[in-house]
């Protein structure tokens, strides 16, 4: 294996690995843009993952499975929406509660699924004709799983929605200056519910993409912190889908690195003879998230591009 082949492999695998986080991060961007911080992404992803895997196991229909995963996570997000938006409880604590709830509930639901060993229907990979035969770029971008392409489509779509459409303008207004949005007749409560729910659907999509496409199977705590990483990436992304996509894919590469370096055929840097180094490489994605957060926070300070101004603040008409 030459170095170029190794790089192609790891980039392709990294993009696939980063896709579930990408979905969850896009969802969190929408929720936070509307002014609602939802720290329950990890719990929602887990519910999405277990529901999608369970439905796929029961019916063999991957479309239905993905939908089930999205709806399960969406339902969970509405609990947070009710407590945080209508009851105006502390969003940090409510989000934490959501993660605990999702983690526990998914473990309870998923207990009989852990032992499933037979093949469960999964979303297939699909090389795109013509494009996939381009050297270097083809194998990296166009010989991927279907969900990866869905990610390629969603990123520019959401970017366009947020920055160049009327609903996007309303979304930003609700998150930046809800009182003004309210005066314009925008229904703030309804929009916040809507975007928290969309965020839940996307987190569920991320969970489903994980359990029936990218890394098929179910284990308790399957996401291993990916939901939290998605929340962290939102800050690095400066609430922008395109910037966030780079973060998610880069994260995917780092997550694949320990696995791919174990291959003794990798030139120069194989860890096949050095398993302890692998343990430290396993830390990389998490350390990377911290570094990325530092970068994001520094930049936010310098350029004054920061969180939506009303992030985490319940809206009460007449209160500032």
């Amino acid at each position: 294996m030459d170095l170029l082949q190794f790089l192609i492999n790891i980039l392709a695998a990294g993009i696939a690995t980063g896709t579930p986080i990408l979905f969850a991060m896009l969802g969190e961007i929408l929720a936070e843009r509307s002014g609602v911080l939802n720290l329950g992404v990890e719990g929602m992803m887990l519910m999405g993952a277990v529901s999608a895997f369970g439905v796929s196991h029961a019916t063999g229909n991957v479309g239905l499975a993905l939908l089930a995963g999205m709806l399960a996570a969406g339902a969970l997000s509405l609990v947070h929406a009710f407590v945080a938006i209508s009851l105006r409880a502390d969003q940090v604590v409510s989000g934490l509660a959501l993660t605990f709830l999702g983690t526990g509930l998914s473990a309870v639901i998923g207990a009989p699924l852990v032992i499933v060993r037979e093949a469960v229907a999964r979303i297939p990979a699909l090389p795109i004709p013509m494009l996939s035969s381009i050297p270097v770029i083809g194998p990296i971008l166009f010989q991927q799983n279907l969900v990866v392409y869905l990610g390629f489509i969603l990123v520019p779509l959401l970017w366009f929605l947020i920055h160049h459409t009327r609903p996007g303008l309303h979304l930003r207004a609700v998150g930046e200056y809800p009182a003004a949005a309210d005066a314009l007749g925008i229904n703030i409560i309804a929009l916040r519910y809507l975007y928290v729910f969309l965020g839940g659907l996307l987190a569920g999509l991320g969970g489903g993409a994980l359990s029936i496409a990218i890394d098929p199977g179910w284990l308790e705590g399957k996401t291993a912190g990916q939901g939290w990483i998605a929340v962290g990436l939102v800050i690095f992304a400066a609430w922008d889908p395109i910037r966030g996509a780079f973060g998610a894919y880069l994260f995917g590469v780092l997550r694949r690195l320990p696995l791919d370096l174990q291959n003794p055929l990798v030139p120069l840097i194989s860890t096949a003879n050095n398993p302890t180094l692998g343990r430290f490489l396993d830390m990389l994605p998490y350390l990377f998230t911290i570094v990325v957060l530092i970068i994001g926070s520094r930049e936010a300070l310098r350029k004054r591009l920061g969180a939506p101004a009303a992030l985490g603040v319940p809206y009460v008409r007449g209160e500032k």
Partner: protein
């Protein structure tokens, strides 16, 4: 229907009674919701709750016969929840979200293990050995928490994510040492056993004097928790520093104007918070397992967060809530699947923060014209436009 409107209004004051009622009522409601979820998942909720109670606290017949195994096991499980809960509680008081108690606990356990196995000789006197282990555990947990603390204090980096990410790094760190690493015993995924000088005294060690103690594994770690609770209460409510912490939590702007040093307080609070979690780790390896294992904690650090919140951040009330969650863990151990304890904790936390809002706000049913309802909004759940503007809280 058209002329009646339910409004949410802030209450002028929250009575202690109302807040206790909200907590207890919330707990009841949470148990009901939990029962519904258990039923949906195919389990028998009454049998499950009954089993939890029996396992965790024993039956009157057990008590009459002088058997307190259930209660003792509950105390064992409550100990790390209490210590980590006290740690995060201190942070939460100044709205510093340390979600990394689990990782800090592991680092504390790691440092204590290092002292017991590799630094001090086997025949070190017990008090010296245990004190050194406790200090090392606290130092390691505190320093681990100081990383996100420093990032927050000096660079303004969100501590929720960083504390959480460091959990995973800590798990890998322990794995590196214990799983086929330098501390692994003959390839098993655990360290060698500690010498007996590094075991925390347990009740059963005194069975020769009090026969009823025989077989009870509750250990000195719980006393650490009691002392820490008292110390925290003194700090928070009887010291100038505690006053600063509470002011910063309530109103950081005012605190800054009053000349309080935010960065210094963040660093101090994070260190103490992590140190308590580290002590929990030390007490767990020295009091229960007597060696370091991969993933020996079933999420004590997370349960501590919920226990702290359920206790309304009161250092005495957390004694009760950690015993409650300890009991839940002991009881749920017998149940399949194991996620039930975590699920119930999540439901409890949700319902309690929801119920808490009812103590701060009240529902007022008033006559009014129809108010347009929107998607997912309970009809009329808005302050009416005719209300005079009220001054914002923040």
């Amino acid at each position: 229907m058209a002329d009646r409107v339910i409004r949410i209004e802030p209450r002028l004051e929250t009575t202690r009674l109302a807040s206790v009622i909200a907590s207890v009522g919330g707990l009841m409601l949470a148990l009901l919701i939990g029962a519904a979820l258990l039923r949906a998942a195919g389990a028998d909720p009454l049998a499950a709750y009954g089993a939890i109670l029996r396992e965790a606290f024993g039956t009157p017949a057990d008590w009459a016969a002088g058997r307190f195994y259930g209660l003792s096991d509950t105390i064992v499980r409550a100990t790390p929840i209490l210590l980590t809960g006290l740690g995060v509680l201190l942070g939460f008081k100044m709205r510093l979200w340390n979600i990394g108690a689990e990782g800090q606990l592991f680092m504390g356990a790691w440092a204590a293990t290092g002292i017991a196995l590799f630094v001090l000789p086997k025949d070190t006197p017990k008090p010296l050995m245990l004190t050194t282990m406790a200090l090392a555990g606290m130092l390691a947990g505190g320093l681990w928490a100081l990383i996100p603390g420093a990032l927050k204090a000096w660079l303004g980096v969100n501590e929720i994510i960083t504390t959480l990410m460091l959990n995973y790094v800590a798990f890998q760190w322990i794995s590196f040492f214990v799983v086929a690493g330098p501390w692994s015993e003959r390839g098993f995924q655990l360290s060698p056993q500690f010498p007996e000088s590094a075991w925390l005294p347990r009740l059963t060690d005194y069975a020769h004097r009090v026969p009823a103690f025989a077989g009870l594994t509750a250990h000195l770690g719980f006393v650490f928790g009691l002392v820490a609770a008292a110390a925290l209460w003194l700090i928070l409510y009887r010291s100038r520093w505690g006053y600063e912490i509470r002011v910063i939590g309530d109103n950081p702007q005012a605190a800054r104007y009053a000349g309080m040093n935010l960065a210094r307080n963040i660093l101090l609070v994070m260190f103490i918070s992590g140190a308590l979690a580290g002590l929990a780790g030390m007490s767990e390896v020295a009091g229960v397992v007597h060696r370091l294992q991969d993933r020996f904690s079933p999420g004590y650090g997370f349960s501590g967060i919920i226990a702290a919140w359920l206790a309304k951040l009161n250092p005495w009330a957390i004694l009760l809530t950690s015993l409650l969650f300890g009991g839940l863990l002991v009881g749920a151990k017998q149940l399949q699947p194991t996620g039930i304890a975590f699920m119930l904790q999540g439901v409890i936390l949700f319902v309690v923060i929801g119920a808490e809002m009812l103590t701060r706000y009240r529902l007022v049913i008033a006559r009014h014209q129809a108010v347009p309802g929107g998607l997912g909004v309970p009809a009329g759940l808005e302050i009416t436009p005719t209300d005079p503007p009220t001054r914002g809280e923040g």
